[in-house]
Amino acid sequence: MDKSELTILLFNMMRVRRMEELCAELYTQEKIRGFLHLYIGEEAVATGVMHFLRPQDNVMATYREHGHALLKGVPAKNIMAEMFGRTEGCSGGRGGSMHLISLPHRFYGGAAIVAAGIPQTVGLALAAKRLKDNRRSICFFGEGAMAEGAFHEAMNMAALWEIPVLFCCENNLYAMGTALSRSQSQLDLTKKAENYKVAAQSVDGMNIYEVLEKTKTALDYIQREGKPYFLEFKTYRFRPHSMFDPDLYRPKEEILKWKKRCPIEFLKNDLLSKKSITLEKINELDCMVEEEMQAAISFASMGSLEPVENLERHLYENDL
């Protein structure tokens, strides 16, 4: 992988990180309301996977999906406007933080019902297979979703019918406040996929190189075999589950230990040590990120509110 590609990957992780930090600030200022789930710490996963995706590829994600939307190409300004509840938002202000949707980017949004998007992505992939329209279908979900029946049903059918889906489990070890070891009898998550005869790999989700390598392997396999593939990304969220979470269920030492494995610092340091990037270049990237995000925030603040008369629009096809 050449220097410029790696720089882009670093830049994308920085964009996600900064957007999330600003979201947290805007939340405390009450500019963003409702639930807000931040992706800080997990950036390497979405950044690495999305690196291989093309505009026509389908993505479904969870309620922790700001970064996924951004990396799939949804402009930061439309993401921010959505969180501000404005018509300029990618979902017209009707979805908010948990439901960023953008059909032009084939981003089918954040599902806030855990695991609901998994069978739906299998359906998207089935349609792509039948219509032969050269789209990949990728689903992101947390390890908590693997306790849901929908996960198991979808996995079985994807394997049974050879539906080419990439299942990306972002295992951040906690389903809200419940540790994986307290909610699952089988802690090796790849076994759950293998049990359905779905090829599976576990990935260090804090290491962008490994994310890239294993995702590439998975996508090549899907392309070649026309079958599904399961990736478990071991990762960690540095922030609480949501802005309401007092984070009482995790030892502070554990959080500190994982923060030392920050995926952004890891890549920065690696690139610096290999002299693949300079501090000046990193500063330049920082400025670009800041500029993009500040522009997004001012765009969102100036956004318009949908007239209440339009409340009942878009319920059915002909409600224009």
Partner: protein, 323 residues
């Protein structure tokens, strides 16, 4: 020509499969078994396994796959064996199919058709005799079709597939073997309009689905007694054509609602409320209702019959109201 409700459903499906290559069927036992109610017999041999997909017992999974396939440009017809099992898939229907268009400000369409058998009356006991179509009509974003006639059983699917919204079609198990005279070509009266199945000046009997034949029978019996009533077949519970109801009441001034669902918080309650809001001064008597008794449906035949409105009970109620 004569046709059964089952044959009509089959003809509707055949038409859909022949007309649009993106239509496919998915559900439990739709293929090799030929459909639990033999509606899709031989379809697997005719259309192949890509279009007639036998699904494992995974309601939330295959309804979710249907939603995804609809989002992805296909026209899936999902069969949930009976309405009772639809409860396992309610999350997909309500939290996804019904909301995607609105929540995405019109970007996403879910052109999904879900067929399911509904209703009691066959001694199948409490877990196989539910009637939830009125309950599902509570959900904005869904369309709820309840074909009661053979003609409607034949044509509703075509209408459902024409649009790009999720449509649930409830096929009543007791109607499957009913045979009725139909035209050689399907009649295309929009399903979103209630139809007056029998005209009459004395009372408006409002019903739908599996209750229609027994209501019509009761009305014909009453006719012989000189009690000439009107019978309205709702055909679609959401959107509800309440104008037809109101116009009828302006003529008859009396209303009886016959609903196979339970009474409390029911679809009959919704109709009654709309009548109160719109026709209060047209009424000569309180709105009356005959509903399922508020118990789980028992197995024993006499108990089941007592729990679901029967022809004789409907007839007696009409006579009592017109005394």
């Amino acid at each position: 020509m004569k046709m059964t409700y089952r044959e009509a459903l089959r003809e509707g499906l055949t038409h859909a499969l022949e007309k649009n290559p993106n239509v496919f069927l998915i559900g439990e036992d739709v293929g090799a078994y030929g459909g639990t109610y033999a509606v899709t017999k031989d379809f697997l041999q005719i259309y192949g396994p890509e279009r007639i997909m036998d699904a494992p017992l995974s309601e939330v999974g295959f309804v979710g796959i249907g939603i995804g396939a609809a989002l992805g440009g296909m026209k899936p017809i999902v069969e949930i064996m009976t309405v009772n099992f639809s409860l396992l898939a309610l999350d997909q229907l309500i939290n996804s199919a019904a909301i995607f268009r609105h929540m995405s400000a019109g970007q996403l369409s879910v052109p999904l058709v879900v067929r399911m058998t509904t209703g009691g009356g066959r001694q199948l006991a409490a877990q196989h005799s539910n009637s939830f179509e009125g309950w599902l009509a509570h959900i904005p974003g869904l369309k709820i079709l309840v074909p009661a006639s053979v003609e409607d059983a034949r044509s509703f699917l075509t209408f459902a597939l024409k649009g790009n919204d999720p449509v649930l079609i409830f096929e009543h198990a007791l109607l499957l073997n009913r045979s009725e005279e139909v035209s050689s070509e399907p009649i295309t009266i929009s399903p979103f309009k209630a139809l007056i199945r029998k005209e009459g000046p004395r009372l408006s009997l409002i019903t739908y689905g599996g209750m229609l034949p027994r209501c019509l029978e009761a009305a014909m019996d009453c006719q012989e007694l000189g009690l000439d009533i009107e019978v309205i077949d709702l055909r679609c519970l959401r959107p509800l054509d309440d104008r037809t109801i109101f116009q009828s009441i302006k003529k008859t001034h009396r209303v009886l609602i016959v609903d196979e669902g339970w009474r409390s918080g029911s679809f009959s309650a919704e109709i009654s409320a709309r009548i109160m809001e719109n026709c209060f001064y047209d009424l000569d008597a309180p709105v009356a209702r005959l509903c399922r008794k508020e118990v789980p449906i028992p197995y024993a035949r006499h108990l089941e019959e007592a729990a679901i409105p029967q022809m004789k009970e409907i007839k007696a109620k009409i006579q009592e109201m017109l005394k």
